[in-house]
Symmetry: D2
């Protein structure tokens, strides 16, 4: 893979590539053929996958890449695809591909959580300026900031972990009518194929697209969590602030001194583009009329591909960013010290109100307890994910 | 309420109105004041809500409507708002308002499910043409189609039911530092206020916005489910198809004969606008830098209001649409009969392949079993929701 | 007006309010009645506008607010609305409202340009650090930066200035058939009414929505230009950078020392929400089937209202921001001096390559010529706009 | 090319492919080298383009594909890229690619206009039902409907024709400072290179992104126009309506009788996905801070690629759709005849009001004059485009 328009795309490997889709489509056809065989209708046999080029040619005239696949498979077994419709194959294949994406993103989230736990522990007490509306507010520690990032990552992981990846096996209009011509009991046939694919057995959902939009929403929840970290890192690595730095900054084509926060930049790029992609999945879902719609379904495929790959790339970049993040605790402390009067103005106002001396010098409140709470969530996640 | 630009807006009543927001903000301040009182710091007293106009004036210069609220409350109790930040009050207040929205939408979903169960039962065997890519495909029944709508509604309800509505009580930078000046143990203080509000107690999430984006995603999942029903109804009520009709069509300003599927039209309107709103919440989440961001947070408020109210209106309209839907089973049957040869072409091709006579005349496959499965989900929902 | 969810909303006054829409709808009906009268069909008379409440009630059942308007007007003149359809009235009325919005935004753009010209002139030579990817790059002047802002504003103004605001006067299906029953020559009738309204006479465009999407695109081009200025101001007013400041920062509900860049924050808020609104107009345009579509048209109204008002508010806030912007040229110079070695690293690399001494000490290249070019555009705009 | 996730992608050929981008980037570097040579600084020489793979590898670490390009070119001429920054090369290269896209889309628009003129002329008087809100309204002719499509296409063409494609040649922070080290007069150097590339000479616009968003808006205006045609064709080719049909319908993987309106489906697919892409360009523009932003710029590249290619594919499909559209004027007439009473109810109501006999039997109003007006625009376009 690799994409000059999306530097870093190669991090997603072959996930949701054309080849991966062909492989997944054939896996779906194979599982169905095996189910037909298990029902005594035919003898199973391994189906060989055609090349991408063999399918590209016919994809437009039929409107989807399954149209060209079927005759190629039927040369191998005349029972191939009997009882299915093209949407069954494509929806199920995409679910296989998306589950792989989710698995890969989960791996990256786990790595991020580990790095963040380390950062939080190391900087639990590293005093720094808390900033709101781009201005100095009250003191925080870098451990607390990292715990906030961690909260976002754990929230994303929880969303991703709650997803289901259903098989679609319903026939032309979701009635399993063709399958019923072949077998007296088509519902178990469908369930058997779903199990073989490791997908959830679910009643036909050709025009009930929540499984698709839920995946889109979860992937965007991930890039939201990454984008927020990257926004902070890009800001805090400004020379005038200088509190963090990426391990290896990117260079310039002309300025020899530049060390750009290039991972942060590329992560933010992803986070800016994904909300619109997930929204497109919702628009498509809302327009999913009839027993298969006239365009909205077709709008999902590339949208899911782009959303999936970009999330993987950004997840990997965020994991790398966090693993190598350089934290300048001394500079944080120096800036906080210099701003001490401002940062404690709220505290002093409270003291004035209560007519008592300020209770704390550092004015960090419940920072420790909050950090402990987040670390507890992280431990649970790492133990169970 | 009422909005000439959004006919039907009055269905949402005062949900997420300016008045509702003021009431909710004061409720948050009250819960906090009560918590301070319970900790022995002051004596509680009921806080009176100011008028909307009193708050509008100062909202811009402070950047949010809490800035103007605080001095008005402190005239009542000088302890009001001590320990909080404006984002605490606004986030928690919005959560109160959004929980009401979710409750109302859930009521409407329940009504929709009931109507759909009735439609499914009544038309379990009402033969009709199944349509894919706008063309005749294979037979279905109207009961199956309604079961598909029901699946969408149940999926939306499941998403909505999984939401949490957390309180935000963290102070200026999420450290509870001001509260800690007042009380040795500010975390229980915060938890007590959350409980009093009926909101989830949660560690500060000022820049971890998944609670907000999850609500946005769930509301759009609802309008997706409604939009898909409305798309079907608008199509099937075309005079040339004439299989369903709204109970009371809308009139025209000039054509006396017109009976427009006006609920479907207005539901589709909502479904077209909400995906972009939910996407805006994600963009805001991804840009949530520092301890409070410089714009993204502010972009959430009106977006949530519009998304919330539109979902309520569309939910109510969909409930009304389904409750009164007129189904012309005779015309469905006539069209299906006339198209019998086409609709069974797939069946005959299978018969040709298997060299057996077609197994079924109606070619409805597992329609009954699928309907039973969906009805089972509906029953579970109605019993537990 | 005023909106607690959108602080500053009152800057848009009554533009695109419910009342403004009623007034505009009646103006359209009046122009049509006058045209009928001019054709000798009836006697003209001034039509009184009903109240908003009178129209809200009936708007939902008819699907739009014109349905309820017509009988109220016909009590005044039975010839009211004869020959029109509700979409004629609503589309034309919205165009009247949007033209007012464009006029107001243009006024604000002119004020922005004036302020920017002053800033550019005052700081043509105020040395500052140029920043790319959040890092120091090469030197610029603040005059050049302001000239870049000015370029954005002038581009937005050019887009806005190229808009047309057409009347919609075509009857139920865009054939002027009802009007043709009343008059032998309905096209001039339609043109006369358009002229009276000050709108462009245009062939019916009920489902050709480029006039609407073009307005949406232009408004977003404005908020893009504002958002970019606000992004710079928010960054440059960070305490660690401190190169600019808003004239009057916003306060905090709890931290007495805070001076927040509140205009920048609120402008950025707008810029985050408007792209999704303009996209909704495009989605609606693409789905505009038949002679009037079943939902997409209805999705436009509130979207245009929100887009229009938010652009006005942000335009006004940006004008205020620029008029009062405080520029700390001494701090800019000090930071640039301290970074001199870095900022001239590119220059020295070139010197190394060419084996000549660096040509310039300030390394500002064609800054002066570029500024002159932008100021020339600004002068042209101020003279002709 | 070819993309299994976007059937028909091959219609866009190599436009905006990785290879096309490399070619365009080298063309920009060549034009600049030639300009340096023309200024007497070096001797020009033809630069050879590296392979895509050579650039992919380094694109991520530098953040963009130019970083890896420069050393490869400098092996050929040490003067390559002297005075430029990577954004200059990438922005200008994308403008070259996008101009090709616009040219190709314009060709397709011209073909569409020709087909539509033929359809309008052939069916100027082909009576059909006019439909609003999915119901029968008043009579139209198919010529009028096609004239409405034509209006949309002409509006899109006008938008596309008004675009400019500027070169970006400003150096690291848009000051031409590096170029100024090489040449006393860098602005003409920049203008010369722009002219050589056939791009508009324009002052640096690194963070003034209206040229980019204007292109995005224009491309979406095109897919809007196509989507609306496709929406009509999909609806009117429903078997129950049967008024139009695509020349060659698409087949099914399982139903032998199916003739799907596959071009319409694929065009609608595109129209559903493009608004979100154009919105992303606006979001990026609004966030374009500093002298080069930290993510928003990077979000543009793939977005423009996808938007550009999808518009070309949809333009080509729409041209094919229109060239081969089958119109069943007899069925249109029969349906209109059967609905005569409904379709003339408005006319009869007017007759009742005016107390005169209905003026026309066909009730087509100014249909002819409107058609003539649109055909006039088409003729102007075909003569001048």
């Amino acid at each position: 893979m690799g994409d000059l328009y999306w530097p870093g795309d190669e991090r997603a490997g072959t996930l949701l590539s054309d080849e991966a889709l062909v492989t997944a489509m054939v896996a779906v056809e194979q599982a169905w053929l095996d189910a037909l065989a298990a029902a005594g209708l035919t003898t199973s046999m391994p189906l060989a996958a055609p090349s991408v080029d063999d399918l590209t040619a016919g994809a437009e005239s039929g409107g989807n890449p399954v149209i060209g696949l079927v005759p190629l498979l039927r040369r191998q077994s005349p029972w191939a695809h009997r009882g299915l419709t093209s949407q069954d194959v494509l929806d199920s294949a995409l679910m296989l591909c998306l589950r792989e994406v989710a698995d890969r993103v989960t791996d990256e989230l786990r790595a991020q959580v580990s790095s963040l736990v380390t950062l939080v522990a190391a900087h639990r007490s590293s005093l720094m300026v808390g900033r709101t509306l781009a201005q100095h507010a009250v003191p925080v520690t870098f451990g607390l900031k990292a715990a906030g990032w961690l909260t976002g990552v754990l929230d994303a992981a929880a969303t991703l972990g709650a997803l289901s990846f259903p098989a679609q096996l319903g026939g032309a209009a979701g009635t399993l009518s063709a399958a019923a011509e072949l077998s007296d009991d088509p519902v178990p046939l469908s369930a058997r194929a779903a199990v073989a694919l490791g997908l959830e057995a679910r009643l036909p959902w050709h025009t009930s697209r929540r499984p698709v939009t839920a995946i889109g929403d979860a992937l965007v929840a991930c890039t939201d969590a990454f984008g927020r970290v990257a926004t902070d890192v890009a800001t805090l690595s400004r020379p005038e602030i200088g509190e963090v730095a990426e391990a290896a900054g990117g260079g310039s084509s002309t300025m020899p001194q530049k060390r750009n926060p290039v991972l942060s930049v590329l992560i933010r790029r992803a986070a800016i583009t994904t909300p619109g992609l997930a929204a497109t999945l919702h628009t498509a879902a809302a327009l999913a009329g009839d027993e298969r719609p006239d365009g909205p379904w077709h709008a999902e495929w590339a949208t899911l591909r782009d959303l999936g790959r970009r999330t993987v790339v950004a997840a990997s970049q965020t994991a790398e960013l966090l693993a190598g993040l350089r934290v300048d605790a001394a500079r944080m402390a120096a800036t906080a010290e210099a701003a001490h009067a401002e940062l404690t103005a709220e505290r002093d106002a409270i003291a004035g109100f209560t007519d008592r001396a300020p209770g704390t010098d550092d004015y960090l409140g419940a920072t420790d307890a909050i950090i402990d709470g987040v670390l507890g969530r992280a431990t649970d996640f790492l133990e169970t994910a």
